[in-house]
Structure formats: C-alpha cells, structure tokens
Amino acid sequence: MRTALLLMLLLVPEASAHRPSTADAVTTIDDPTVSWVVNGELHDGDEVFRVKLDFPHPFALPFELMTEHRAGAADFRPALAIVGPGLPPASDEVAARLPLPVPEGWGVYVDFNEATDREVYFEQVMRRTMYTTGSFAIALREGPNEVWIWNPDETPGDWQLGLGVEEDFTGGAFSDIFSHWGQYAY
C-alpha cells in the first residue's frame, strides 16, 4: 500500500499523465473530454479493438498511437482509424483496407502506420521509449465516435492509445496500472 501511494505521488504532479485504462475488444471511454491512455494487446494479431467515445458536444483533441520501442517490437505497426460523423467518407481503396465497414453517414481518419521515418517518444510517466504515429489533433462531432485499432500484418503486440490533454485523476484513476502492470511496463 505504501509503495502504491508513493508511485501515485510521483506520477501525478510530474508528468502530464493520461488517465490509464486497459482495453477489451470493445471499450467505452466514460468521459472522452479528459485525457486517457488506453492499453491493449493483440494476442493473435487478427483482433480489432473498438474504443467508443461519446462526446457531449463537438470536441477537438489530440490522439496518438504508441508501441514499444524495442528490437522485438520494431516491426509491430498497428493501424488506427477514427470513425464518426463529420469526417470525410472513406474512398473505396481505404474502405477495402479497413477491418470493419464504416457506419452509414460516418467518415474516417486513418493512419496505416506506414511512415518510413517513425517518431520516437520518451513517455515520462512509466519512463519508456515508444514508437508513435505522432500526435494529431482532430475535431469530432458530438455523440458517438469510435477508434479502431488493428494490425494489418496480423502479428501480436502491445499498443497504447493516447487521447486528450485535460488531466483528471480523481476516483482511483491509477488503480488500473497496478492491476495490469504487465501491460504498462516492459
């Protein structure tokens, strides 16, 4: 208990942390207007994670998708799509590469994570170096939107989705770190 409390004290003030969460296949973010880091693992490689975001009003925020920066994970490059109303419709070529059909009337932002030069980011909360798609800001409409994460190469690996910047650590926000420690540390 003392160790946990000490770690929380170190985490909160120092480092622009995102509220942590661990993803299941379909994960709902309770309040997408505060910052989150959602951790997930592609066990078999062919899964699709759907992160559901329900905004109370139109909302602009930064996103990024990160993976571990280590030799064994260098070729793990999951793709990310943000799907929702107000985004441009997917071209036939893009739609063919998405893991799920885009709902009627929705559009898509997609990053297939194919950049030759990959951005590397030192994540100060858990003190890890990560590959990142790079931060990108996007304005989303009110109501339901989704983020899809999958690996076109269908290989397994761990990923982290960061979104938002407003910190809110009330209500035991860091308990998820300790119950899923293996996904937060490497």
Binding site: L5, P13, T33, A60, P62, S135, F136, A137
Partner: protein, 94 residues
C-alpha cells in the same frame, strides 16, 4: 474514494509551485491556425467545437511536454484537413 481529492489537491499545489517558477507557455502558431480553421468550419456547419485546450490558458500550455504534443498535433491536424477536404474556408489556407 478519498484518495482522489487528496491527490488532486497535491497536484494542484505542486502545479502552482512549478507554474510560479516558469514563464507561461503561449499557444503556438500551428495551434492558432488549427483553432482559426476549425472555428471557421464550425460557422460553415452551424456547430461550436470545444477547443478550449488549444486556446490561451488551455490544458495544452501547462508544461513544455504537453505543449509539444499539442503543437505537433495541430500541425498534423491542419495538414490532414487540407488533404481531406476541398471546401475549407479561407481561414484554413496555408
């Protein structure tokens, strides 16, 4: 959940101390451009997008690390808008 308020209080106190030691961070030109473009698109579409975090005093400008994240995000976001939409208002031009 008594821990939450206690941690928030500590965080706020330390943030105040840290903030007192450093100069305030101003929004970057790329985030100013992203806000201006999104605001102009909002007028076209009859909506109001919450962009408080990118504006002066917003959460993006609390420390250099998060400011860098927002700045890169605004730059990438603007580049994507210009690629993805052909009907952008003039406020979105480079």
């Amino acid at each position: 959940m008594r821990r939450g308020p206690r941690i928030s209080g500590l965080s706020a106190t330390l943030a105040l101390l840290v903030g007192a030691c450093g100069a305030p961070i101003e929004p970057t030109p790329d985030c100013d451009a992203f806000v201006a473009c999104t605001t102009a698109r909002d007028v076209q579409q009859g909506i109001t997008t919450d962009m408080v975090r990118f504006q002066p005093g917003g959460a993006c400008w609390g420390n250099p690390e998060i400011a860098g994240l927002c700045d890169r995000g605004c730059r990438s976001g603007m580049a994507w808008l210009r690629d993805a939409f052909t009907d952008l208002p003039r406020e979105c031009a480079p």
